[in-house]
Symmetry: C2
Subunit: 179 residues, 2 copies
C-alpha cells in the first residue's frame, strides 16, 4: 500500500516535471509565433492599399501576393494540426500553387486583411485549448513510421517552422513602408 502510494507519487513527479518542461517550451514557441504574426498585423495596419499593391522590390512579389501567401500557409495549419477544416482552401491555387502575377483574380486587400485576422484568431482559439502533450504528437503531414524515427517532427515543430517562414516574408513586406 505504501509502495503503491509512493509509486503514484513518483509517477506524478515524473509527469509534473515533464509537463512543466513542455509548458515552458510551448510558451516559447507560441510567444514567438504570436509576436511575428502581431508584427505582420501591425505592418498591415500602417500600409495603404496602394503600397500593398506595389512590388516589395523591383520585379519581386507584391505586398498583396505575400499577404495572400501568408494567409494560405497559416490557413493550412488547421488540418495539419488537427484543428479541423480550412477556412479559405480556395486561396491555395492563387497564393501557393501559382506565382505572383499569374493572372488569377485575387481577393481585395480588405478581404485578405479580414482573412488574415480570422485565420489567426481561430488558430489562437485552438492553440490555447491544445493539451501540452498533444503538441508533441505527430502532425498530420508526417507518417507514423517517420515520426517514430524523428520524434521532433511534432505539431509544435510546425509552429517553429511557420514562425520563421512568416519572419522571412515580413522582412520583405517591411520594404513597402515609407522610409
Amino acid at each position: 500500500m505504501f509502495i503503491k502510494k509512493f509509486y503514484t507519487m513518483q509517477t506524478q513527479t515524473a509527469t509534473n516535471e515533464s509537463t512543466a518542461t513542455k509548458t515552458i517550451f510551448i510558451k516559447m514557441a507560441i510567444s514567438a509565433w504570436d509576436s511575428y504574426n502581431g508584427r505582420v498585423t501591425k505592418l498591415l495596419a500602417t500600409l495603404t492599399d496602394e503600397e500593398l499593391l506595389a512590388e516589395t522590390a523591383p520585379g519581386r512579389n507584391t505586398g498583396i501576393y505575400l499577404v495572400g501567401h501568408l494567409v494560405a500557409v497559416s490557413d493550412g495549419l488547421f488540418p495539419i494540426l488537427g484543428f479541423g477544416e480550412r477556412l479559405y482552401p480556395e486561396l491555395d491555387k492563387i497564393f501557393l500553387e501559382s506565382p505572383d502575377k499569374s493572372g488569377h483574380q485575387m481577393p481585395s486587400i480588405t478581404e485578405l486583411k479580414e482573412f488574415w485576422n480570422k485565420v489567426n484568431s481561430k488558430l489562437s482559439d485552438h492553440i490555447s485549448k491544445m493539451p501540452a502533450d498533444e503538441w508533441f504528437a505527430r502532425h498530420n503531414n508526417v507518417s507514423e513510421a517517420d515520426f517514430s524515427k524523428e520524434p521532433h517532427r511534432n505539431k509544435l515543430n510546425i509552429i517553429l517552422n511557420r514562425t520563421s517562414h512568416t519572419s522571412y516574408h515580413l522582412g520583405q513586406l517591411a520594404y513597402l513602408a515609407k522610409k
Copy 2:
C-alpha cells in the same frame, strides 16, 4: 533498502522523461537554427561580390551590411549563452550601432564570409557540447528576478528568436539573387 532502490529508480524515470522531452525541444530549435544559417551560407556562395555590395531593394540595406549585421548578432551569442568571449566585437559599431552607409570602413566581403563561417562553426562546437538542462537555464541578458517570473526566457529561447531574426534578413538577402 527496497524502497530506497525504488525511489532512485523512480527519480531516474522522472529525470529521464524530462531529459527526453528536453532533448526533443533542443533538437527542434537547433535544427531550425542550423537550417536557416545553412540557407544564408548557401545563398552567400551563389552571390558575386558585386551583388553583395548592392542594395537589397532601392534605398534599403546593402547585402554586405546585412551579412555584417548577421555576423555581429550571431557573434553576440557567445557571452549571452555563456560560451566565452566574442570573436569580433569590433563589428558592433559598424553593423549594430550604426545604420548602413554610415561612412564606417567595413571589412571586405571575403573577410565577412570568413567571419560568418568561423562564428557559426565555433557556436556549433559549443552548442553540441551544451548539457540539456543548461539550455533551460537563464541567459545572461535576463536578471534572476525576471527569470523566476518568466522561465521561458532561457538560453534556448535566444536560439528561437535569433533563428527568426536570421530568417527575416534572409528574405531580404534573397532579393540580391538574379531571377
